[in-house]
């Protein structure tokens, strides 16, 4: 039974006598029985418990405030106004007040949130042209057919940026003010840049080539989406790195949320300001809202969220609690297995190896 094979004769077509072909490869055969597996279970329970405790302590240090301002206070008047589409051009602003009883230490993040707005519908998500927002000149005036019916306006002028996603961009704006005492007001500065992914701002979204033209001239021959109040080259005219397709609010909106209840980053507290170096002090605050986005069509709600973040996210107790629950379940299983091992396997009744 050697490896040498005759090329002719009765044994010519005999298969190789290698370990691979004759299924004789050395193999490790693990036994899933209690005594081999118990240490692993206890170790896993311990790891899950430690992780759960650590995460719980981390989450306890976050602070969050959520305000549903759809019909809150005098925002209700704006809500009623927005029900009528003929008043869409009319501005409406309202004020929302809240107070913080414990100072927010560290970086504070200001989010706007929507409830019941499905950014994840398939036809909605298809309705965009990523090559246009990449700044490709051939696509600027010739948007993809997926953007229909938001690709061209009634006169056939192409829309930039085209599609339903850009068209439905959130357009409320917020100003936060701090009231340390009844008479004084300090505006809370929010950084409105540095909010997006680096790759979004610098790779996926680019303005069309301007050469020596202004941005407005580069967009010549296109018009703004139908629901917008300003054209895309006027989104932030003071700041050329935040204007046009690379405007951060647009980029953040275009990254479609996974679920119908979501929030998106609006600004980060500017801690360079003297009053806010440590975060948000406790006291009374007001938010002035320029109320534009109508939500009654989809029974939605609008929310403002102020929160501090930790290394693994905001105030979400699910993960630490899940780890602790899992750890107790594993511990329970381990105890049951120890009993099984004690009763059935310990004294060789079941041919232990």
């Amino acid at each position: 039974m050697g490896k040498a094979k005759d090329k002719s004769g009765p044994l010519a077509r005999r298969p190789d006598n290698s370990a691979f072909k004759q299924q004789r490869l050395p193999a490790w055969s693990p036994m899933l029985t209690a005594n081999t597996v118990l240490p692993f279970f206890y170790l896993l329970a311990l790891i899950c418990m430690l992780l759960g405790v650590w995460l719980l302590l981390t989450v306890q240090s976050t602070q969050e405030i959520k305000l549903d301002y759809t019909e809150l206070g005098n925002c209700d008047q704006c809500f009623q106004l927005r029900k009528n589409v003929s008043y869409a051009a009319q501005t409406c602003s309202c004020k929302v007040e809240f107070s913080i009883d414990r100072a927010f230490k560290g970086d504070v993040f200001f989010y706007y949130g929507l409830k019941n707005f499905h950014q994840n519908l398939r036809r909605y998500m298809d309705s965009r042209d990523d090559e246009q927002t990449l700044g490709r000149n051939n696509k600027l005036k010739n948007p993809s057919s997926y953007c229909e019916p938001f690709a061209k306006d009634a006169e056939g002028v192409p829309i930039a940026p085209c599609g339903a996603v850009a068209n439905s961009m959130f357009n409320d704006s917020f100003t936060l003010t701090y009231h340390p005492s009844r008479s004084r007001t300090i505006p809370v500065p929010l950084l409105r840049k540095g909010l997006t992914w680096y790759t979004d701002k610098n790779v996926k979204f680019r303005n069309p080539k301007t050469d020596n033209l202004t941005l407005a001239a580069a967009f010549e021959g296109t018009r703004q989406p139908l629901y917008w109040q300003k054209p895309v080259y006027d989104l932030d005219p003071d700041n050329p790195t935040n204007n046009g397709f690379i405007n951060e609010d647009l980029i953040i909106w275009m990254r479609e949320a996974a679920f119908p209840n979501f929030k998106k980053l609006y600004g980060i507290l500017n801690r360079a300001d003297a009053s806010f170096t440590k975060g948000l002090p406790k006291g009374n605050y007001t938010i002035d809202i320029s109320y534009n986005f109508p939500v009654q069509y989809f029974q939605g709600r609008k929310v403002v969220v102020l929160t501090t973040l930790t290394w693994f996210g905001g105030q979400n107790h699910f993960l630490p609690i899940a780890y602790l629950v899992t750890s107790s379940l594993i511990l329970l299983m381990a105890v049951v297995l120890t009993l099984a091992w004690w009763k059935f396997g310990k004294d060789g009744k079941n041919m232990k190896e």
């Binding site: 992780l51 990523d130 996974a258």
Partner: protein, 366 residues
Amino acid sequence: MFVSGDGANDVNMIQAADIGIGISGQEGMQAVMASDFAISRFKHLKRLLLVHGHWCYTRLANMVIYFFYKNVAYVNLLFWYQFFCGFTAMTMIDYWLMIFFNLFFTSTPPILFGIFDKDVSAEVLQGVPELYRTGQGKGEYNFLTFWISILDAFYQSLVCFFIPYLAYQDSDVDIFTFGTPLNTVALFTILLHLAIEIKSWTVVHWIIMLGSVALYFIVTLAYSAVCVTCNPPSNPYWILQSQMADPMFYLICTLSTVVALLPRYTFHVLKNSVAPSPLLQGRQLDRMEPSTRDQWIKEWRGFRGGPLVKRYELSDPPSPTRATPVDFFTESLTDADFMGDDNSLNVITDNHHRAVQYDDNLFRKL
């Protein structure tokens, strides 16, 4: 039904049977040409049936159940998302990655499982022919094992979806960033599920399993580094890279995989400790020294219906109207049978008469 024959007169019988074995030799090659399998000696039938027949059945049964489970688990993951996207058939995983999942990342391990898995060694299978019964009748592929596997697939897909969902609920996560831990969790759960099922790990298994995981990460990272506008609406540019820099990704993946596989793993361990199947006992025999092993085999086969082997575990064949060859084997206990190198099938005639006396001797010896 299984038949074997060597002559031209056996050809009709071989073709009519479910499995026909042709034996080449003095009577010519007609039987071999008509058969499903061909062997050269009658004595090889024993090994063909007991060893290769058993392995083939086990491998096929487990592989098929695993393939059903894998697809049900993965597709259900997409189904649960429909409740959140208005049932518009939006997938939170880029569709090229979905295609590659089943094509490249999780295809080779089960195929390898179906080729290489050896649940009990050849020596024990030949030495304890009763183990052949585990493949007949109520074997490893039946109503219960199939539907339990499907139920397990539903449970695992629920866990793999809802743990990331609850962790990312109300946050600012976008669709494809949410889909990335889902895809990764699905990969690890599916591969580790197979790892629980694999009974003998060769170096090839290790290479393929670790290679599948590596392939997943390499392909997804490469695709995410290149695709800026290549695949609307997903265009997953830099998504996996940014997820891998986020500790939340690892926390979610670990928790979901552990919770998804915990029931199956615990059930296997409990069952193997409390009520081990005959196959597991056969595998435990593999680990013994040859002399102790022979002793155990004699005891096991000698104590019919005793505490070690529960007779009902070895299911009866579907409709034995007369004693099958396996029955003959159990009655003719010879030392040659235990050694597993019996080269003759003549035990049926020669030793059958000796069988009854031998049983009495066995009882007296032990």
